[in-house]
Amino acid sequence: MATQYRTIMRDGLWDNNGVFSMLLGMCPTMAMTTSATNGLGMGIATAVVMAASSLLVATFRNQITQEVRIPVYILIVAAMVTLVDLCMNAWMHELYKVLGLFIPLIVSNCLPLARLEAFAAKEPVLPSFLDGLFMGIGFTLALTAIGAVREIFGSGTLFADASLLLGPAFKAMEMRVMPADMGVLMMILPPGGFLVTGLLVVVKRMLDLRAGKAIQMGGAHSAA
């Protein structure tokens, strides 16, 4: 049992990472990684929605028939997104002002849908919840990494405005790496997103090769 959870965790965070291995969710990845803080925000919002929708789909997996499963999955993801959007707007308004922009975009992310289909539809509730959660955290790490590289070279800062997202205690995280006018504008424009994502995919595969691991490509297969 414990090894299964370890595999789920490793898969989500590294081995089968949603962005760097499966290349899923490219739309929010490109749009939201102009800074590390933006990437982090988008990632956290996605992780919450993924964990909740995986949990729900696994709970109802015996009631959802094969023929209507896709509309039901979309319904569940969209409902979770709306729920998070409304609750955050009402009760966590400061955070919503920063993250609010990202939340509706989660519906356009195919990573939650892929994990529902590949994992939560067949597995029990707890592993499914963990799979959603760790895939979400892996997505967060990937977006934060891409955002950090683009931000350093594009704007010369790292984690700018992080205190708006995480609270005043994180003011110390905000760094200026180099003067703003040395930034390469292209990095925060769309081409920079493709460039950095591609380079980081290469870095991950080089690390995997060095560790003697077989490279997993493209397949959205489950850990099971």
Binding site: L75, L83, L86, A90, G154, L185
Partner: protein
């Protein structure tokens, strides 16, 4: 076969009903709080262009609707002290490099600018976005100006013979903002009576 598709339809319908109910309940629970937060946000952005010292009312609730030069409906927020209108704030629109720039400006009763802020824009990051207050102090230089200061022919960017700085690599953005602010001041001059009328 027919029974089967009935069954699938029922399942899908049941899920739609269930999640629809869940969302309806959440909406009901959050509606009041969301409206309150939206009002607070509006007040915060207004307080940047109408200083708190010049009014004792709530400009957000003391608002009138007017048509701007393009025939578009805008809301004019009014600041009052002892019942007299001491300033107004309203949205203006400039044409930028990549679409419309939405701004909010505040004017005192004499037609002097209390402040201008950018609400939304699509200008190039790193070039045109220096019009935002958090990216530069350019937008703050409008405060205190009026149609008489500088003279109308100087309400342009320096490149066009006026007195406002353009940015290196971005002239169209500041040009659009300067024109919009000037248009906003002319709008005030033309409709002053209606905007400051005490009802």
């Amino acid at each position: 076969m027919k029974l089967d598709s009935m069954k699938h339809g029922m399942i899908l319908g049941a899920f739609c009903l269930g999640f629809g109910l869940l969302l309806a309940v959440t909406d009901r629970l959050t509606a009041a709080d969301i409206a309150a937060r939206a009002l607070e946000d509006r007040m915060n952005s207004l307080s940047q262009v109408i200083p708190n010292s010049i009014h004792d009312n709530n400009p957000v609730t003391d608002a009138i609707n007017m048509k701007d030069v393009r025939g578009k409906e805008i809301t004019v927020y009014r600041a009052r002290k002892d019942g007299k209108v001491t300033g107004v704030a309203y949205e203006i629109f400039g044409s930028g490099y990549a679409g419309e720039i939405k701004l909010m400006m505040g004017v005192d009763a004499e037609g002097k600018l209390l402040g201008v802020r950018v609400l939304a824009h699509h200008e190039t990051p790193g070039l045109g976005d220096k019009i935002e207050e958090k990216k530069g102090d350019w937008i703050l230089r409008f405060t205190g100006l009026s149609l008489a200061n500088p003279l109308p022919e100087k309400w342009k960017v320096k490149k066009d013979g006026g007195q406002f700085d353009q940015f290196a690599g971005a002239t169209i953005t500041p040009r659009g903002v300067v024109a919009a602010v000037r248009g906003g001041l002319e709008f005030y001059a033309a409709h002053q009576a209606q905007m400051t009328e005490v009802n």
